[in-house]
Symmetry: C2
Subunit: 232 residues, 2 copies
């Protein structure tokens, strides 16, 4: 199954790329630059493509991002500290982002003769992001079946859609993912901050998975405080 | 119903913009620049937005178009003369173009608080383009319902999906569309060429609708020859 992986350079999508390279026929990585603060991630996606010996399509979405305003990931709004919670995370939503990225990836897949597009949407995102829910994934695949009818048959492969991030860590470890070569922090500093929503989620996932976290954090203890406060 | 219209500047989408401005609450036009040869159309979309007094979002897709190669609309391949026929027109397909454009338009719609995105897909395109068929439209709207659940409720309004281009001409005339201020020709010259697939289709639509065609063509008689040859 010739597969293109949408890879941001984060822990989830780099783990997915390694899993697909192991189990299927990985033919390329696609990344999207929304001009967002965690753009630094994209360098880690490029390194992943190098490591796995496949082409890397970097799609510049900065111009389009300007038309989709209102999100902390692209605009000049403070990223909230702490664990994901519905109120604080709603501002990090780029409207319709997953549908846009997936539609472009399917176009690239059709141009390259791919059999599948793989995306690392996962269980932990269901609550906040409607476009990470299984219902969305199924509806998107059905839509693409009609859109490409007669030209291409491409499935949407989302093996992490029903599992939490800790299970992705376990899966990634099983396929030799170099976790130190992935980036999660929304703040895009020199090291992971350890305090933003994704940093807290990342540390918690390694702890729950009982896998050693090789990441260096500016504030390595903040996440435990959050967990102790019962904000999990 | 606050509605955004996807408008290329062609006869169909300019007619749709005038219909929506008459019957609903038109809040903006969105156009996509794929670096294609009929880019000239986009100027007619800008003029339509001016005329109707709404903002015009022009989305630059040239970078993305480079990743979706293989089409006469964006690449250096000759545009075929004559009426649409499956073989000659397949090369004008940009893979997954409608899904990509619609997904971006829904993102803009969500950002602007729209109730609907309107697109001028129509009956005449069903045979060649799978992403113009009613099944695709229904599946796309269902997908978006999941993607934006809890954030926005936007319907996909495609009043031309079941009608031929001649009926669009009749509908456009009923809403005062200045047809001379629309562009169809794929070749993008000074005047409409009169010979390419869209020019032939355009002239035929006016004839069938029994509406006067105000367009100047370089070769105004070619289309009749095509019709006489039974290539309709």
């Amino acid at each position: 199954m010739k597969t293109i992986v949408i890879c941001s350079g984060g822990l989830d999508s780099v783990s997915l790329a390694h899993k697909v390279a192991d189990e299927n026929d990985l033919i390329g990585l696609v990344s999207f630059d929304y001009g967002q603060r965690h753009k630094k991630e994209v360098e880690f996606a490029a390194r992943c493509a190098d490591r796995l010996g496949v082409p890397h399509d970097l799609i510049d979405m900065r111009h389009i991002g300007q038309h989709l305003s209102g999100s902390a990931l692209t605009d000049d709004v403070d990223v909230p500290d702490g664990h994901y919670a519905e109120d604080s995370m709603k501002i990090t939503v780029v409207p319709n982002r997953n549908a846009i990225m997936l539609a472009i990836a399917f176009g690239i897949g059709a141009a390259k003769g791919a059999d599948a597009v793989a995306a690392a949407v996962h269980g932990g995102d269901h609550f906040i992001y409607p476009d990470c829910r299984p219902e969305f994934i199924d509806a998107f695949e059905a839509m693409q079946k009609h859109a490409l009818d007669g030209y291409a048959a491409i499935r949407l492969y989302t093996p992490f859609v029903h599992i939490p991030k800790s299970a992705i860590v376990i899966e990634g470890a099983a396929h030799g993912t170099p976790f130190g070569d992935t980036w999660s922090c929304y703040k895009g500093g020199e090291k992971h901050c350890g305090r933003c929503g994704t940093c807290v989620e990342r540390q918690e996932a390694f702890a729950l998975a009982e896998v050693i976290d090789p990441t260096e954090y500016d504030d390595p203890d903040f996440w435990k405080t959050t967990v102790e406060k019962g904000q999990l």
